[in-house]
Symmetry: D2
């Protein structure tokens, strides 16, 4: 690829937008040419926009702000000009996404972290390696809506790890039922209206609004098939309880699976191990799709989350599930890498290979 694709990041000042910038820094295929945020930040440099009156710079990544972005001027998201842009990455809330993403998609490919369009009938919910063939619906979407571009959202960060882990099980054994309890990191709660320190010191919160609904329907769509121009949901039932725990990054999920056909621990391990999509040279792809742990005390979020660029899905504690006739295990997935910005980059890279971008 001799020239880099030119990228706009919308919602660049928020925590998810910052993760995009960190992930795009020195990206071999993509180059950030435009940053956009709410109209009140428009015209400021990126660094100015992050600085609050008390001197605090609201940059929450552990690498400093890449110098290339410091002095870029923010544009107003509703007025963003896309003529010189090849891909738009959006890191904005649902309401803003519902309004802005169609404007962008009329012209250019939009890869979105928002939930606004995930469940639409002509929109794929892509996890490269799991349901890459769902991208075929993009042509239909463009035709339906008269767009030159398109919208491809990534799944909810909690759905991401669950759907990855279920894919090889469904393929080899069939899945009837999934019971999942998540212990989610606080970074997913965002900065504004986020979880306060008082909530998570010596505490956990047993509820995350709208999360369980998303996990349940998104999993069925991702694991479903796209046939003759329509999605057919997977028939598996999914039930979950989603909680917030005092962890910065890394969602842990305790999963119980009832399979359609008999399964053993060894067969499950083999299914996970063999599941290694051919990502070719995609820069954001994990080296290993799954990282299996024999030590029952792993995966642990702080210790394991950053392995393999935060893009591998960790699976541990695989045991036979006698009550449900299946298996149970614990997974760990990096919610702000694989499950967010970096995962969106992988989707974009994958769509480049498939020539949608």
């Amino acid at each position: 690829m001799s020239f880099k694709k030119r990228v706009a990041v919308v919602g660049a000042t928020g925590i998810a937008g910052q993760q995009f910038l960190a992930a795009l820094h020195k990206h071999p295929w993509f180059e950030v040419v435009r940053l956009a945020a709410s109209p009140r930040s428009a015209g400021k440099t990126y660094e100015e926009a992050l600085r609050s009156p008390n001197g605090q710079v609201a940059w929450w990544q552990s690498e400093p702000i890449p110098p290339a972005y410091r002095h870029m001027r923010l544009e107003s998201a509703p007025e963003l000009v896309l003529s010189d842009v090849d891909i738009v990455f959006t890191a904005i809330d649902t309401d803003a996404a519902r309004e802005l993403e169609p404007l962008y998609a009329a012209q250019k490919p939009v890869i979105s972290t928002a939930s606004a369009f995930r469940m639409e009938a002509d929109v794929p919910l892509l996890i490269p390696g799991v349901n890459s063939d769902h991208s075929a619906v993009i042509r239909l979407q463009q035709k339906n809506r008269g767009w030159k571009g398109f919208i491809v959202p990534i799944p909810n960060c909690t759905t991401y790890g669950l759907a990855c882990s279920l894919a090889p099980l469904q393929k080899h054994f069939g899945i009837k039922l999934v019971v999942m309890t998540s212990m989610q990191a606080t970074s997913g709660a965002g900065r504004n209206g986020g979880v306060l320190a008082l909530d998570t010191i010596d505490n956990l919160i047993p509820y995350i609004p709208k999360e369980e609904e998303k996990v349940e329907v998104e999993t069925q769509k991702i694991l479903g098939s796209y046939q003759s121009g329509a999605f057919v949901n997977a028939t598996l039932a999914v039930t979950s309880t989603c909680t917030r725990v005092p962890v910065t990054d890394g969602h842990t999920e305790a999963v119980f699976v009832a399979t359609e056909r008999p399964i053993t621990v060894e067969a499950a391990k083999a299914a996970f191990s063999e599941f290694q999509p051919d990502f070719g040279t995609l820069p954001s792809a994990p080296t290993q799709f799954f990282t299996l742990h024999d030590d029952p005390f792993h995966p642990q979020p702080r210790i394991d989350r950053d392995q393999d660029q935060g893009m591998t899905t960790h699976i541990g504690r695989i045991r036979l599930e006698k009550a449900l006739h299946g298996i149970k295990y614990v997974l760990l997935s990096h919610n702000t890498k694989a499950g967010a910005a970096k995962g969106a980059l992988l989707v974009a890279e994958s769509l480049c290979l498939q020539s949608f971008i």
Copy 2:
């Protein structure tokens, strides 16, 4: 009750033993007359035994050491004299319990926090209000073993809250299957060989050795029946994943229940609300057996655990469970109060009322 029962606490220097002393301080029915610990502490005063060479006093409760105990001399647990004692509370590990508790039980009632005898055929696993009638097996135990006293263990702290919450559901709707994921406090891990700070800052541990096995078999025994001299286990299947989270006290459990008969959220709430055993004047009994939460963000361990002396079981997020045909909810139970020393006191109080003590 004009005279107080005289009590010995074995394992008095450990964290569970300290919880006994805190709970027994100013107890209206019980009076501590003997403290025992390992032979190497014998002869020291209680305070001396807690003091390490660097000056640290290893007392981990938030109330100071009650003055009455400071200067009591510790006895060697294997040589403990029980002639002037009415009840022995033990807070020792499984191996020690297996050896010492029969010695004590030959003479006196032993209420134990250890797992050593929980699953024996002539030993009840008591939760007052849930299976108080199981105490009938005590007479058989005494006969079988030729003991004047007896052993009554309390359940594992994670089993405790789960079994409490299942009792009214089983009674009204029947239970086929329970899928549970626990998020357990670190205090349960004890002091020696316990969980280190590094393990639980920005982290969680997805495994607690032997915990899941205990939860599964103990629940079946507690919810079973005692008939014609034998326990009949409840037929419900129980499967679980037990994890350790950065919380000091209070075990949270996400529970999914398949019921035998149809259930609604309202019916479940009614079943919990009506379940209010008659504890009479037992000093350690909760005012409300269950505390129900309508706010979906509760129960939360730090905020809710100490209500009602730490003896109530909190239930929140009751929702219909469509996938399993039943209900799902989140419970919170205080692992070092209801699920440990204070729960053991309630067992002893209850056995006093039943004239076993």
Copy 3:
């Protein structure tokens, strides 16, 4: 006291206001008759006002909302009627205090947690037992401002423990210089604009806006004298660094003191031990003004903060300070009890005894 004083709490829905309500619940001298908040909450019941659209009830205390307040209707703070009120407790921000407190003080005594009036020349900054005689300025304040009531603010929560601990040292040894580093709890940061979970998991924040300035000037005023109608600041120099650590409640301070006259560890301990103001029957007074710790691993916030109703100041690690010629120690003070609402109640109780209320 045959009748209870009637109390209004302004800012009742915020975290500090909630602390007032928890502290006033069953108070033997005071009875809450009015609750006030911002105009947009006026007319709602207290419980309604705390409930957000997603069902969450924003009540952050570990005791449930006392039933007496649940259904009280909130009044609009700017229009609060005070005819039937004896004392106004305010828990509002500085700007609101600057505007509203004079309105209230024109009629009634106002005890304030805000910093707005702390440094005014006719306003006392009271710590009962430390500078109770400063209340004499109240008469001057009333004369100056033509008020029937008055404003008495309590100090900043970080100043509180420091000034308490310095009082006996100043009395016996004189103080030249104080160097203090605080490790402050997150509860002090409030709910709105507060510290986020991401900030304090595996982290600390080395800056609290405006805090160091307050500590430095307030300490000089509190330890100064009130003579012939004017305050004379204490001449000690105070320098500090204030940080925020992952602790919910309880401010810890590492203090280094240069004294004017020679001091020994024993003499310092004696000075602390003897410092026991005669609080008579004041309901919110600590049993011991200071709690001294010999165990060098104490005081610890989670373990020690709630002793003595959270009203005692803990002092540990008293060592000779050779470099500065004085002593050094670590103190712990409960920032939301002694240093906030409960401390304000003690001020009000003390002013009742002095017949200012």
Copy 4:
């Protein structure tokens, strides 16, 4: 450098030893050829030695165990053969160091993290870039003790950052007095006998045995001079309070400095900025010796510690210190990188350049 130096790591299974292995993995100059631990581990492979009976592998780094070490056999530390070794890195406790390090030093250079020999008159306490000239004492040490090798310890991890930050101030302004309060990470407490989770959830510990004494004397030695065969301590007075806070890695220190000559904030910043030792191509040297922060909310341990390989010293909140006539600031230093294994590597690299190794 055409051939790599061959390295032995003693105490390889402990947390500090693991940090050595992680830091030495792919090191361009050094190659691990021998691992040693206590005699009871001798003969086991490295991975076997880390595995406990319950299946847990006690490897606490976030990178997996480098494959090169997994199957290396551990040797017994007291019997370690050094004939084919160029450098010995020790990560053992003080008592073991006192016994074993002289055995090794008789033959080979020993770089030690232990405190055993730090204060000996012929032993340098090296921080490359701060007091590199102190290495001259090595020849004297070899002569005195008849050793072919030598012992060079690194400072205590808390001393490290403090001494680094004081070096430019002393050079430009002279230092009379330093008052320091540390907020130290739990990783420094080690694994065995370490800090337990219960201690640091919602808590801090105001005492670290022996830490303050080390900081005070080591700082004077490091900032002193080596002249005519003897160390002359710097005359500055150092007083400190060392505390443990709920942070995994990164020691934060609040520092107040009285200077001999007048200082301004700008002059201090310039002194820090200009202080950039010439490390040439040393692989473990920081790119910037100091990282200065203008944002007063930084440095923060979780966000900033890993910058520049964890080898830079962060300085923030530089303010004029009026009470002591000097400046005050907050520093952050990575206790398990710059202040431990990686810092020891930098010492070794520096001694290679100086031809001591």
